[in-house]
Amino acid sequence: MSTLSTGLGAALRHRRLAAVLWLSLLASALVAWYPIKALFAAFDEGAFREALVKGWDSWGILSFLVVERSQIGLVLAAFLGSAVAFVLLQVFLTGGVLRALIANRPRPVFRLVVAESAALFKANLWATARFALSSLFWLGLLVVLPCAGLRKLATHAPPHGGASTVLFWWALLGGLFVFFNTGLRFDLARIALARDDARNARGAYRIAKQRLSGRRVSGLRVILFWLVVFLGVQALFTSAGLHMNPRTNGAVAGLFLFRQIGFFLLAMARVGFFASLLAWEERRRPAYSVMGSASGGTTWNVSESIWARAPASAFPETGSSVTTNGSALLSS
């Protein structure tokens, strides 16, 4: 089974896990709800109510942006609060989501995810800080510095000449490449933490480096595949949502539900991505063999020291998982 099909299968199977992520999105968005509610109260009190129910009213919206600019400022501030809440929630939840996937437990998951997330939160927070710093460092070194140098060299060159075209594409593609690389290592570090391959972020990053060694391209392929899925779902639902233009209160409720389905699918894509990456990582764990013997004993052929400890809460002794070097194989 390929890593991608493993991910797709997991995305469909672990719907409750996706629901946890979707709820985290909705809850974060609702942080901005009260300023949004206050801002849009004017829609029902003012001259553009019926026009806006019918559709777009250009003067209504343009004048709204000017007349209500202070209230819009409040909404923007609240949005920043939403973003902070969302970032912290994702840092928190990712560890639990990974452990639920490793345990291959479609249900019940909520308590499991919260408990495992809490256990891993501190280490994941450090890993996130390291990711932010390493992204800044590598983006600065490999993108910003070369671009600044090239820009200086091309100071007297006309716009859109060879130098500026190289600069643009290097900034875009180079930036994405660097970002995906640091992101991939970050994700693998979090997997290492979830598998208890490492005790802290530093060790997890070291293990992530070992996993990535010589296999970067296939890892990036996993990221790109799920990025395309993510963008496709986002574009489809955003476009459809805009075109729906509900004209009744019932239709507005329908639009809300429809968009939440879209966000739920995005959450499923995130689950699928992590499942794919877990499968990818599983196949690239250090070489060893599990050999049966007549006595039923196991001979380990390990090229590096592996200390593994199944997290107690994640792996109840049900006997349903095949345990190799301390972690459960997906779909096995």
Binding site: F40, L52, P246
Partner: protein
Amino acid sequence: MRKSLSGAAVALMLAAPAFALEAPRKLVDYAIDVTVDPDKKTVDGRETLKWTNPSDAPVAELRLHLYWNAFRNDRSTFFKESGGRLRGDKADTSKGWGYTDVTSMKWDGVELVKGARFESPDDGNPDDRTVLVVPLPRPVAPGETAVLAIAWKAKVPRVYARAGYVRDFFMFGQWFPQIGVYEPKGRRRRTDSGWNCHQYHANSEFYADWGDYRVAITLPEKFVVGSAGALVDTKTAGGRKTLTFEQKSIHNFAFTADPRYVLVEDVFDPAKDIPADEIARASKTLGRSEADLRAGFHKVAIRLYLQPDHRAFDRRHVEAQKWALAWTGLWAFPYPYAQISIVDTPEDGMGATGMEYETIYTTLSFKALSYWPLNRWVVSEMVTIHEFTHGYWMGLLASNEFEESWMDEGINTFTEFVMVDRKYGAYLKVPPGIGFTDEEWNRAQAALTQDHDPILSNAWKYAGEGSYGRNSYPQPGTTIQQIRLLLGEEAFWRAFRGYAERWRFDHPTSEDFLDAMRAPGNPLVAALILKTWYGRGWVDFAVLDARTTPDDGFTGFDDADKPVNFDPDPKKKPQKKPDEKKHKGPWQSLVVVGRDGDIEMPADVVLTFKDGQTVKRMWDGASGWIKYRVTSSSPLVKAEVDPERRTVLDRNPWNNARYTKKYEGPSAAAKGRTYALHLVEILLSTLWGVL
């Protein structure tokens, strides 16, 4: 030297004729030879300036503009006012300075430079070098033509304010020693004759007299040159070429040079390029036959000097140009020149972008604007239309941009949004129909914002760049739109075209335009002009209250002290209020409509009832508020003032309606909140790609 022949009589005729001119009064002729060194960014020039004294009084000194001295150092008035920034572009203060030095000026063989001095008539800045005053050995007599031989050298500034260079792109605007305007008594309503020669300010443009130009430009052969004139001669020698251009009846001469230009040529052909529906509309509105409107139109050569990376814009600029030629020809008068040149500035030379000169202007292209969805934003077309039409309100009706900047920019903003919205339908429109018009964009910048100046002010005397911008562009543009709505289409456009035809080839003042708008005799327009051009007037209509209650008849004591519809016995329970839902009528409604601000405007007030019936009343708006009490069979659900949105100056259109509790329609707020929440979720979920 040409001697005075007609004296005071000629001067009087030149001052202020009370009729429309067929051609401009030419008072200055220039013959210029200039050599450009593109490597050193220097200019060596010689010019023969013929200047005729248009007044009935002798003139003892001359005044010349040396505009590039605005870029001489950080003590110039221009630099002090602008802080070295203009429209988002910043001066290169390391090596981007420029200047103009007059090295010789002779009249009848007498050198005048030694006695010349700089003056700063506007702010007294002793360091400003943009106005050169040249005392004469003897006065120039009324009607006499003085012939001056001038030599000068100049350093081209790095462009951030209209003129200058970037790499080997050059824009030469206001680049030669140019004589100021000596206004005779009567010109622009002056009560005495005198020089009108202002310093170069951050927030001002220009003013000059008409004349004929012959300009010979020498520069390396690789350069492609576009100019205000027609090319009449080319000579090449030693890797350099001398191009000679001529243009009659203009009041400035600009040119551009860049080896990278791609020249796109086209022709405006009135037989093909005037839209049939537009000429039919103009004919009906103006009350003139189509044949009459077509008279005066002729073919116009269009030359677009395009940057090679902007090829995607060639048709966009040319089509916008053709539309502007057709529209201005119909609603003002046909373009009188044989050619128009459009300069597409490079993206690293945006300081030169969006500037008008006569028969030549600079427009805007950005490669990014050629890709979806930015290509749905017709900003490039808007700039082309805007800058070309300056050729009317600054060029052919040569207003004084120093003193009355709105006359160029404001009228031009108005005609720009009329043209853009008519041709393109919207300024920006992306699927599924989200966008806005150019008129709305300008209205938002004007009507909804506070300000500290009236429209009418000298350009350098506004509170700041923001106030200059608002009162020169969107505020007069939107106020003219308000006048249009007050007068109605026919009266307005007839007055508008009347103004354009009357002041063609002349120098109108604010009052000349405003007189044309007052002429149809609408007192509201006269009052509006007073409040906006000469004051800081504003208006805001609002529905202050709207309620509706069941009319249950008389309740209380009647005149005979008998209780009606209630029992006064304190021991008995009070009667229950009847259920409003079961009330069959009648209903009593109260609506209070207010007008804030000091501009008096009439407005319709429309009351809508639950059974779908509406009542419409015209309110003259003279008082601060008006109350309506209505008895109806159905409850009031909505009260609205100015439902057709004819008061474009309304500062807050959102308070123009109120709904009562009886309104049962769908909620726009719920829709807006839902979309806003989705937007937040979209943005947040994007972070999943990072975390």
